[in-house]
Amino acid sequence: MNNGPVVFLALFVAMAGSWLAFVMGPELQIGATRPTTSIVAGMTDEIYPNAKPGAARQGAEVYRANGCVACHTQQVQPAALGPDINRGWGVRRSTAYDYLFESPLQLGTQRIGPDLANAGRRMDANSILVRLYEPRAITPRSIMPPYPYLFENHKITGIPSPDALQLPAGFTPPTGCEIIPLPEARALAAYVTSLHQDGYLYEAPPPVEKTNGPPPTAKISPAK
């Protein structure tokens, strides 16, 4: 116990155990996962997941740079564990497959805002842009901060821009002005609209419809 090398050996063993369990082990198991065709629903040949379009990949960098992950997770918990599916944040739990093309991975650990794993299925680009410009324009008591620095306040000269934000009454800019999203805002909206986790996989099958009939009986009777 009074030997320096013994201390280091002990530390090495403990450290290696933790490292093997949470870095090496999962890397060997799931590090080489590729997109799959093993989708349950309909048994199609469709590949899941698909790579993201370029604008969405740029948007992922905007998402990272502004620390969106501080308030938004991107993972749906299993129905048995949390209320996520009941709250409409997803149709099934998240699996390792869903993140194959996410880098940097922004899984998040805290929900001050709603989960965004399936944000692309709930919101379109315009609604996301309006929320970024002024969250309270859509959710009156939202606690999300606005991101005015992702937008530009233009004086309208000639024809109004087709990209201008469609804001609800009460939030419109003064007459003669329009709010134009900057490229960062549009990339971010493209990223958020690209978020969806809805390929049914063997490890996350579609939810079973509850029936009133008797529970299914075992097909194989135990050997006697």
Partner: protein, 476 residues
């Protein structure tokens, strides 16, 4: 090595004088970062009073300021303070002068510069997006090198020790020194240089965050507690074997954890994380039992000794944070606490409660000895100590309880479909806004401490030491 150890142990005052400059640079820098980090926390907290507060400028948006707050606290305050206190413990327990003074000083300067660049980078949008590992990639190399410089000197000091018998604190400090380069290099390599694929990144980031808090910082805090409690009470530690057992338990089980229940990772990882976390109950119990037996029936020192008071509070916070961590992963609870303010409350208690109090306790003891290499020490202002203790304790407790209430409320109401998400989050604003008072009190506490520090430096220059104060009292 053995020949060295047969030599005479170095006198305490000489040891303290030897490590003065490098340790003051580590601890002083850490304290300034603590203040900066807490100010960031206050700004982030104010966003819950008014979302439009400082919203026009990208640098001060919540996501960035939150990341800057965590980074300033972890890398600016916690790691250098852990190094400072850890190196001092290695010197004192090994009865040896600190090795590589200039190297440590250079390491400390490089570290602080890297943290400054890193925090500025995060505010400019260069953060990595991994919790507890937000440092922009361009400072990770310099951070790693400067930590290695300092840690190598620590190991060298340990190697040259002149005291044969090892004390548990040395195990804990060495564990901390050894653990950080490993997790930091793994995270840098697999998150930044060659990013692992998909969800593996989350596994590595959670593993890093868990080990950084509970092993690297937790071990140094415990080393300090194990050193000061018996020393200041003037009694031997109840059982060295029990302490080593606790060390093993924490190293083996505490390092497995951090994966939330229901995470999209293989199920065995979630189970292993849960089992590891629950099993830490055994070493936690061992630590508490050991120190309780050591300090039994002796409360008199609590009123008289500042270091001991801070250390005891740190130990209590450590216990509560660990109990909360264990309760939070239990199967029926995890669904409620996952992704709410509950883990944030635990983070707050562990870092601003346990760790900061342990470090402040150590600093109250160490710094006068570093400033004056004799037995005649400069004295802290006792009134400022009282204020510092009171404001910091109140600050931590208010912040912690506010976050805990917000977390439990959030988890409880999320399961009830009658309430919309916005309604629930608006409800959490009540405790969160109350928690701002805690952040403010904590900042005031840190400022009071820095004031006391400045007074101590002045007293040192004017030669006002313990003896001088006693003489003056006698004359009066």
């Amino acid at each position: 090595m053995n020949m060295n150890r047969r030599c005479q142990p170095i006198p305490r005052t000489e040891i303290d004088a030897s490590c003065s400059v490098p340790l003051l640079s580590l601890l002083g820098g850490g304290l300034l970062w603590l203040l900066i980090g807490c100010i960031f926390a206050l700004i982030a907290s104010l966003k819950f009073h008014a979302p439009h507060f400082l919203a026009n400028d990208a640098h001060w948006t919540y996501g960035r300021i939150h990341a800057a707050h965590l980074t300033a606290l972890l890398y600016g305050f916690a790691l250098p303070s852990a190094l400072g206190v850890g190196l001092w413990l290695l010197c004192r327990l090994g009865r040896m002068r600190l090795a590589g003074l200039a190297v440590i000083f250079i390491g400390a300067v490089l570290w602080n510069l890297s943290v400054a660049v890193g925090v500025a980078g995060i505010l400019c949008g260069d953060g990595d997006g991994y919790e507890s590992f937000e440092m922009p990639r361009y400072v990770t190399a310099t951070l790693f090198v400067s930590y290695l410089l300092i840690a190598t000197c620590g190991v060298l000091t340990f190697h040259r020790r002149r005291e044969d018998t090892l004390y548990p604190s040395q195990w804990f400090v060495l564990g901390s020194l050894f653990w950080f380069p490993w997790i930091f290099s793994t995270a840098s390599a697999l998150l930044l240089c060659h990013p692992a694929r998909g969800v593996m990144q989350a596994s590595i980031a959670w593993w890093f965050a868990n080990n950084l808090s509970y092993i690297v910082l937790g071990f140094t805090g415990l080393a300090s507690i194990f050193y000061f409690v018996p020393k200041l009470l003037g009694r031997p530690l109840h059982s060295t074997r029990l302490a080593i057992f606790a060390f093993w338990g924490l190293a083996l089980f505490g390092s497995l954890g951090g994966v939330p229940d229901g995470a999209p990772l293989p199920a065995w990882m979630v189970s292993l994380s849960m089992v590891g976390t629950v099993l830490t109950a055994i070493p936690v119990l061992a630590v508490i039992l050991n120190l309780y037996q050591t300090a039994r029936n002796d409360t008199r020192a609590l009123d008289t000794d500042t270091t001991l008071r801070f250390t005891y509070v740190a130990l209590i916070f450590w216990l509560i944070a660990n109990v909360q961590r264990i309760v939070g992963v239990l199967p029926d609870v995890s669904g409620l606490t996952n992704y709410t303010w509950y883990p944030v409350a635990q983070w707050e208690l562990f870092h601003c409660g346990f760790f900061a109090f342990a470090i402040f306790g150590a600093i109250y003891f160490i710094v006068p000895r570093l400033l004056n290499g004799s037995d005649d020490l400069p004295v802290w202002s006792p009134r400022l100590i009282q204020w510092h203790f009171g404001t910091m304790l109140a600050g931590v407790l208010i912040s912690y309880l506010a976050l805990l209430v917000a977390g439990i409320g959030q988890g409880y109401f999320l399961g009830n479909p009658d309430y919309t998400f916005t309604q629930i989050m608006t409800g959490t604003l009540i405790p969160l806004r109350a928690g701002t008072t805690g952040d403010l009190l904590f900042i005031i506490g840190v400022i009071i401490f820095l004031l006391n520090f400045a007074l101590l430096l002045r007293q040192c220059r004017h030669g006002r030491t313990e003896k001088a104060v006693a003489q003056r009292k006698e004359r009066a």
